[in-house]
Amino acid sequence: MKPLNIIVCIKPVPDSRYWDRLSLDPNTKVLRREGIPIIISPLDKNAIEEALRIKEARGGKVTVISMGPANTVEILASAFALGVDDAVLLTDRAFAGADTLATAYALASGIKKLGEFDLILLGNESLDGSTGQVGPQVAEFLDIPHVTNVEKIDFIDESTLRVRTRIEFGYMVIETQLPVTLAVTREINEPRIPSVFGALWATEKEAKQWSADDVGVDKDRIGLGGSPTYVPEVSNIELERRGEVLEGEPAEIAKQLVERLRADGVLPEA
C-alpha cells in the first residue's frame, strides 16, 4: 500500500493541572494564560497517536502543524518526542486573537504550503475552547470531506476508509475516500508514553516556523481582524455550597433525601 502523508493539527492549551491559576481578562474577554505551562490539547494527542499507528502500519510521514506564540514550539517538541517526523509552527503577531474561522484559514493555508497530503487528523475539540469547529472548517478551506466524532478508523483498501463516528444513542459507520479530515475522540486509542529516545528527538529535531508572509495568507482573514466571532460578555461562574440539615428518624431522613434528589434530577423519577 502507498505510504501516506499525514498532517495532524495540534493546539497548545493551558495545562489543566494549573487551571486554578487561570483567569478571564474583563476587557479583552480572553483567558489570561501567562505563566501557565502549555500542553498538547488531549484529543490532539489521540490524533497524533492514530497518525503514528497508521504510519507504522503502512509507512509514510507524520507532520504536525500548530498556530500560536513562539513558546508553542514546546508542544511541537512534545510531538517530536512522541515520534512525529516533522513539525510546523505558524507564528506571527498577525495571527493573534483568531477565532475558529481565522484559525482554520491559517492552518489550511499552512497545510497547502506543506504540499501534498492524504489525511488530516485532529482532536474533535480542544480542551480550552471546545468548539469542535476547526476540523470541519479546515476541511472546507481545503475542499475535502470531513468526519467528526471519529472513534475508529479502518482502511478497506488503498484509499478508502471506513470510520465509525459517535452519534446520540449509537454510532454511524461512514465510508470515505482520501484525502479526508477526521476529527477524533478519546475512544479511538490510548496515546503512547514517549520512548526514552523521545528526549533526543524532542531536542534534536527542529520545528519550522512560518510567519503570515511565509504562508502567503490574506491578512484580512487572519487574527483578530479576520475573526467574525464577537464575544459580548464573559463572566465567572461563582459556585457556592449550601448546607441543609434533614431531621427526623433515619428512615424518614432517607426518604426525604431520595425525594429531594429526585426533585433535583440527580435520581430518576420513581
Binding site: P194, V196, A199, A202, T203
Partner: protein
C-alpha cells in the same frame, strides 16, 4: 557555572513524569494493598521503556544522555512510589557485562539494550557487607571454571534478576600469595546455573518479601564468567566498587531524592488545600517553615546528586562525591518524609495517604549501598588522603587534590 539541566534532561523528567502519572499514580491504592502484580508488570514495562538506556552510549543502542538523566528518571519514578523502580538492575546488568566482556557480553548485551535482562550486585552476607575480607562465600578452582559455595542476603530484586555479579573469596587474605583484597574475585552467576537458588525473601518495613537471600550450593561457573577475564582472579573489588558506586549509590541517591521530591510535592499541595482557622494551612508560618526546610533539602540533595552524576558522565572517578550525595540524600529523605507526615496531621499516617509511604521507605536506604558511616569513611579518605577538592575544580575530590 551553568546550573541548568540540558533540554534533553528536562524532556527526560517530563516524559518520566508522564510514565509515572499513567502507570503508577493511578494504582497507588492497589500498591498499598498488594503490590505483587504491579511489581511483576513494572519490572518488564520499565525495562521496555528503557530508562536504563540513558547510561548506555548511543553507538551501543542507548540514548547516551548520561547519569544525570538516569537520576532524574529514577527520582520521578520514586516520587510516584518510593521503590517502584527497576532502572538500577538494568543498569547493573550493563555494567557487569562490560566489566566481564567475552561470551558474557555477547550473550547478554542485546537483551540488556532491549530491556529484557537485569542483574544485581551481590556482596552482603549474613556476617556483613562492608567488611569484605570477612566474606565467607568461596570459589574453588576446578577444570574449566570455579565452584561457588555460600549464602548472600538482602539482595534487592534478587529473585527477578537474570544474573548476578557476586563477590567471593578465591583465596585467603592472610596468604602472601593472595594478600588482603587480592583474595576476592567477582563472578557472573546466571539464574539457571545448577545449584543457584533464591532462598528466603525478607519482609521489610516497607514491603513484604522485599529482600532476597541467594544460595550457592556447588555452583559451577565457567572461566568466561570471571569478571575482568583471566586477570580478574584476585581483582574482584574494583568492578564491584565501581558498580556499587556508579549505579548503586547514584540510583539510591535518586530514589531517596524521589522520596524528598514526592514528600515536597505532597506537602505543598496539601498545605494549599487543607483549611484550618478559616484559611489554607499554607498561610500558617509553622507550616511555611517546614515547607521551606523541605525546599532547601530538595535543592541541596539534587545539586549534590546531579553533580556526582555529571562528574561520572564526564568520566571522572568521584567516589567521595557519590558518597556525599548518598549520605545527604538519606538525611534529606528522612527529614522531608517526616515533615510531610507532620504537615498532614493524622492524615499523615493513614494508609490511603502518601506521607506514611515516604516515611516508611526512607529508612530502607540508610544501609543500602553502604551505611552513613561507610559513606563518611569514603569521604574522609578523599578529603584527607587525597587532599579533596578545596577549590571546587571541575575534577572530583579524588582527582583534584590541593
Amino acid at each position: 557555572m551553568p546550573f541548568q539541566l540540558s533540554p534533553a534532561e528536562e524532556q527526560v523528567r517530563k516524559m518520566t513524569q508522564e510514565y509515572a502519572e499513567r502507570e503508577i499514580v493511578p494504582r497507588r491504592k492497589e500498591l498499598q494493598i498488594d503490590d505483587k502484580a504491579i511489581w511483576k508488570e513494572q519490572v518488564i514495562k520499565q525495562g521496555k521503556a528503557g530508562f536504563h538506556l540513558h547510561i548506555i552510549p548511543r553507538e551501543e543502542g542507548g540514548t547516551g544522555l548520561g547519569f544525570v538523566a538516569s537520576c532524574i528518571a529514577v527520582e520521578e519514578l520514586c516520587a510516584a512510589w518510593p521503590d517502584l523502580q527497576f532502572v538500577t538492575y538494568y543498569e547493573f546488568a550493563y555494567y557487569f557485562v562490560k566489566a566481564t566482556g567475552g561470551v558474557v557480553e555477547e550473550k547478554f548485551l542485546p537483551g540488556i539494550v532491549s530491556g529484557d535482562i537485569k542483574a544485581s550486585a551481590v556482596v552482603t552476607e549474613p556476617v556483613g557487607g562492608s567488611d569484605m575480607l570477612g566474606l565467607q562465600t568461596t570459589a574453588r578452582k576446578v577444570d574449566g571454571g570455579w565452584v561457588l559455595n555460600g549464602r548472600k542476603c538482602f539482595v534487592e530484586e534478587g529473585e527477578v534478576c537474570d544474573f548476578i555479579m557476586i563477590l567471593v573469596k578465591t583465596g585467603d587474605p592472610n596468604d602472601p600469595a593472595t594478600p588482603g583484597a587480592r583474595s576476592l574475585s567477582a563472578f557472573i552467576v546466571e539464574k539457571d546455573m545448577p545449584g543457584y537458588r533464591v532462598g528466603r525473601l525478607e519482609d521489610t518495613i516497607a514491603r513484604k518479601e522485599d529482600l532476597a537471600e541467594l544460595i550457592l550450593d556447588n555452583v559451577f561457573v565457567p572461566d568466561s564468567h570471571v569478571v575482568g577475564g583471566e586477570k580478574g582472579i584476585g581483582r574482584g573489588i574494583p568492578p564491584v566498587f565501581t558498580a556499587v558506586a556508579d549505579i548503586g549509590r547514584m540510583t539510591i541517591s535518586a530514589m531517596l531524592n524521589g522520596i524528598t521530591l514526592g514528600s515536597y510535592r505532597c506537602a505543598v499541595q496539601y498545605a494549599k488545600e487543607r483549611m484550618a482557622y478559616g484559611k489554607p494551612i499554607a498561610e500558617l508560618q509553622a507550616i511555611q517553615h517546614r515547607i521551606a526546610e523541605m525546599a532547601i533539602d530538595l535543592e541541596a540533595t539534587r545539586a549534590l546528586t546531579y553533580r556526582a552524576a555529571w562528574l561520572r558522565t564526564q568520566g571522572v572517578r568521584c567516589d567521595a562525591e557519590q558518597a556525599i550525595a548518598k549520605q545527604y540524600a538519606t538525611q534529606a529523605a528522612l527529614r522531608c518524609s517526616q515533615h510531610v507526615v507532620n504537615i498532614h496531621g493524622a492524615f499523615g499516617v493513614l494508609e490511603d495517604y502518601m506521607p506514611q509511604r515516604y516515611y516508611r521507605h526512607a529508612p530502607l536506604r540508610i544501609s543500602a549501598g553502604g551505611t552513613s558511616e561507610l559513606m563518611k569513611n569514603l569521604i574522609a579518605i578523599s578529603a584527607i588522603q587525597r587532599d579533596g577538592n578545596p577549590d571546587l575544580s571541575s575534577k572530583s575530590m579524588d582527582e583534584a587534590g590541593w
